[in-house]
Amino acid sequence: MKRLIIYLLLSVLLLITHLSIGQQMRISTLAEKTIMGLQVGTEVSYRLKNNMTFGGFYQRNLRGANEINNNVYEYTGGAFSLAIAKCENIMINAVLRGGLSNRRFVIVTPGIDTELKLTKILSVNLGMSIRAAEAAVNAKLILSL
């Protein structure tokens, strides 16, 4: 019962923020090819009316995807993105992600991505970033709530 009340309160809070300041909650699944191998994860974010997005993410190696030494690199933290160009259903964003690698090492990964809005609630996102001084490419499937 207590849990239900918390969920209800959170839902109401989300609804109020959505209606009052035009925020849009987004849930994404992501895959990123980095120098440490293929990583997959999820991201929860808010997009404001001015197309500024902020949120949190978690990603890690697929077990066995790192062929060289099977090390697992967890990366968790916050993400901020800002639209730098927009044309109909396509938006180009400058992205800054930062957080902890393996729950200990503070890292920052700047990047740029292109978002294509497929439907009102579904978008795909292709991007590039710099991880450990090397290029990384990523893809995201975004569900807007």
Binding site: I35, I68, N69, N71, Y73, N102, R104, F105, V106, A132
Partner: protein, 188 residues
């Protein structure tokens, strides 16, 4: 019909063959004559507890310092500054020097501002050598190839923070007497 079957078998075998293992290329760090470090600095930070890389020295690693006593100075290969510290306060790096006609590899650390150096072993020129540097809560562990690991205690530093990477540096006091090239490939 038989030919089609043969093509299908060949195609199936080709599809089943192993994907060639992708190896990251070596990066060449060139220290020009009269300088300490490569011209373009690289900025990165440590991503996990273990730094693993492969390095190859060539004949350019044979050098003679202008002052005899500087021949004992240790050049830096690769490592990192410890948690939120400057590298002259707390850091761990592999060091190298051309000394008594061989290429020596050392552990080169700063622990609470004190320099700590320990000999690890020697390596051959033009040979790929694996280097491993691990940081735990209390110590650094250095190892090359199958040599015995060298353990150095860490200073009083945090655990969660920025560990910025440190790249090749010549010196010591003196700059490189000629161009020196070191090939390094980080392994994740």
């Amino acid at each position: 019909m038989n030919r089609i079957a043969l093509y299908m078998i060949i195609f199936s075998l080709a599809m089943m063959s192993c994907e060639p293992e992708w190896e990251e290329p070596y990066q060449v760090y060139k220290i020009n004559k009269g300088t300490h470090a490569p011209l373009v600095p690289k900025i990165s930070s440590l991503q996990s507890e273990t730094l693993v890389f492969n390095a190859v020295f060539n004949e350019s690693a044979i050098y003679q310092n202008a002052l005899e006593e500087n021949q004992q100075d240790i050049n830096k290969l690769m490592g990192f500054a410890d948690c939120n510290s400057k590298h002259h306060d707390n850091s761990a790096r592999f060091g190298w020097r051309w000394f008594e006609d061989q290429l020596e590899i050392h552990a080169y650390c700063y622990v609470n501002g004190e320099r700590v150096v320990a000999y690890i072993g020697t390596v051959e020129l033009n040979e790929k050598v694996d280097y491993m540097l691990n940081v735990s809560d209390t110590q650094y562990t250095f190892q090359i190839e199958d040599e015995a690991p060298i353990i150095i205690n860490r200073g009083d530093v945090c655990n969660i923070g920025v560990y910025y990477m440190l790249y090749p540096y010549f010196g010591g006091d003196e700059t490189a007497p000629h161009d020196i090239s070191i090939q390094i490939r980080l392994t994740y």
